[in-house]
């Protein structure tokens, strides 16, 4: 068990930031993201067996977080009704003065809009997008993690891309 603790601690150090970023995108509020982040590692600690860290550990962590979030979705959704989502737009102002060219600000703004657009997708579309782009997971791995057919994953990714593209075009993004 001691070895397992060390492995989990190593995962916290190596992939903590990536997992936390994923949790922030997946959960509705920072508080939920913090909970989800901690619960994910504690769940891994409870798993029997030795982790195979040669196969995309970040993807594994994100799959576990997704499963946890999916199991407790109702609780998180209830919190979302009480505390509505306010996406942090501060980052535009955080660009250092010397680098704050018009192009960079535009790019930052596009990124923020894109993140908001992803956040507004339905869960069915949002979760595969997050796993695909943030976890570098293959369609097959996402299919296993979400327990849905590979064709459904591909179709959802395609639908999500179309919606995001449309949303960006509406807001004046010309590629």
């Amino acid at each position: 068990m001691a070895t397992e603790r060390q492995v989990v601690e190593q995962l916290v150090h190596d992939y903590g930031t990536r997992l936390y970023t994923f949790c922030r995108r997946l959960a509705f509020t920072p508080g939920d993201a913090d909970d989800l982040y901690q619960q994910t590692y504690l769940r891994i600690l409870d798993m029997k067996g030795t982790l195979d860290l040669s196969h995309n550990p970040a993807g594994f962590l994100m799959s576990v977080a997704t499963r946890l979030w999916s199991d407790e979705r109702r609780k998180f959704a209830r919190r979302q009704r009480i505390v509505p989502l306010h996406y942090n737009n501060v980052q535009v102002n955080e660009v250092p003065d010397e680098k704050s060219t018009e192009r960079m600000v535009e790019q930052q703004q596009t990124q923020i809009e894109l993140r908001e657009a992803v956040q507004q997708l339905s869960d069915a579309l949002r979760v595969p997008v997050l796993l695909y782009y943030m976890g570098d997971m293959s369609v097959q791995d996402i299919s296993s993690a979400l327990r849905i057919p590979q064709g459904t994953v591909k179709s959802r990714l395609h639908q999500a891309r179309q919606k995001l593209k449309l949303r960006l075009e509406e807001s004046g993004y010309d590629g």
Binding site: M1, R5, V8, E9, V12, G16, T17, R18, Y20, T21, R24, R25, D34, Y37, Q38, Y41, L42, L45, D46, M47, K48, G49, T50, L51, D52, H55, F60, S63, Q91, T110, Q111, I112, L114, R115, V118, V129, L130, Y133, M134, D141, S144, R161, L164, K165, L168, G175
Partner: protein, 109 residues
């Protein structure tokens, strides 16, 4: 570069912009990992064996109390059926959970 590739790149860049876990959250997590008591787990086959022994005891009890009655005759196939069902269910559950974990977890302890 096609529009789709541009969108892919933009999505990846946008979503992976890192957010650092708050130090307090990180500290609490590491503390919990270090202090969490080891989870006590029983072997997967133990409940089945205990259930089987209970069934056998019950069948033996019925045969002892009501020897050569229709109840004692009925208890033998009923008990056997129950044991077979519990073994089948346990094996199915075991296979199901193993299938879920085999992507990432190896060398079961």
């Amino acid at each position: 570069m096609t529009d789709d590739e541009k969108l892919d790149g933009l999505l990846r860049m946008s979503l992976t912009e890192e957010e650092i876990p708050p130090p307090a959250v990180q500290a609490v997590l590491l503390e919990q990992i270090r202090r969490k008591p080891a989870k006590w787990e029983i072997s997967w086959w133990l409940p089945t064996v205990i259930g089987g022994l209970q069934t056998i005891t019950l069948v033996a009890g019925v045969n002892f109390i009501f020897p050569n009655s229709w109840l004692s005759l009925l208890s033998l196939p009923a008990g056997a059926c129950l044991i077979l069902c519990s073994v089948a269910l346990s094996a199915t559950a075991r296979l199901w959970t193993r299938k879920e974990r085999n992507i990432y977890v190896v060398d079961e302890l």
